[in-house]
Symmetry: C2
Subunit: 200 residues, 2 copies
């Protein structure tokens, strides 16, 4: 979660790549895609934003219940929706809230879709952080600061912290029937390659 | 798909059991559950029914794209929605339309939720088949007639036809790295058991 232009989609797609690389099945539910395909009728009022967040959490839960991990990049501006998502997801899987932190000034400077500019010119009503609320999460599992860190550092941070949280190890346990972390597996693979055992 | 009280949910849950038994991951998206969790706000107007069907197809597609087969038991009263569901699903997976056939008289006789009675007493507006359209599908892959057949026979029919359609074989291919159908696997397993090779 995070404000518009904070780097949510970019981070999500890089983390998705890393997870796919590591052998995880993964579904990346992009906020814009979900709106377009699931409920193009929903607008940006408080109630519509809450509905958008709630429905997306429900879909993530359906996927989780079938052992498909899900990444969701969505603004999720209200704290009650952030907590509701947690409640819905934790019913079936593990929930990790990642706050993609960025000041409104830096996001506006970035503004790849030109949305801030349009909002300032009053063409967009209810634009998060400009003329509509954005509530910082109280206890996110992971915070990355896209203003202070490069995108690569943010991705590394997320991967390391997911591992620390124990979220990434389970599947490897399945593969090996003993506990091994992603970085341990990588070290071993590299060592075996050096020794010439993994030619393909 | 099929009219209210045709036996869609009953059939879906029995087929789900058979598929789980056969080792398939499976998600059963029940029509009532989807309405309750995803969009409790949707009613039963033509447009709301179409929205309900379209969103459900989109969710099935998300699951299919992650190799999770999905069963959906929904009235799907309009032919355009039936075809739209096919288009959405076939984008990612295989679509099998099962028409759970039953005359309105037999469904009304059955009426486990007392819905037909309420509809007749004018308490339910837009009740499918009574005062709202129900369009028979033109080319369903599978038809079961819950009026003429027992539920067990319907389930057997669906399983046999899924196999004939080649939908069930893929996963077994994955397991064995050669082609084997479900019934062939069952025969072999039984034979191995007889010979005492599969004691557990």
């Amino acid at each position: 979660m995070g404000r518009p232009s904070a780097g949510k989609s970019t981070l999500a797609s890089h983390v998705e790549d890393q997870l796919v690389e590591a052998g995880y099945p993964i579904e990346n539910l992009d906020g814009d895609d979900i709106r377009k395909h699931l409920h193009p009728d929903l607008g940006f009022s408080r109630e519509d934003r809450r509905t958008n967040n709630r429905r997306t959490a429900y879909i993530a839960k359906l996927l989780n219940r079938n052992d498909i991990p899900v990444i969701v990049g969505m603004i999720t501006p209200f704290r009650d929706s952030q907590e509701q998502a947690r409640d819905i997801i934790e019913d079936e899987g593990e929930f990790v809230q990642i706050y993609v932190k960025c000041s409104v000034e830096a996001a506006e400077e970035r503004d790849p879709k030109g949305l801030y500019q349009q909002a300032r010119e009053k063409n967009i009503e209810k634009f998060t952080g400009v003329n509509h609320p954005f509530q910082e999460p109280l206890n996110p599992e992971i915070i990355v600061d896209t203003e202070a860190q490069s995108i690569d550092d943010c991705v590394d941070d997320v991967m390391t912290q997911l591992e620390t949280l124990g979220v990434l190890d389970e599947r490897l346990d399945d593969d090996y029937s003993f506990s091994i972390t992603r970085s341990e597996e990588q070290d071993i693979t590299e060592r075996l390659e050096e020794l010439g055992y993994l030619e393909e």
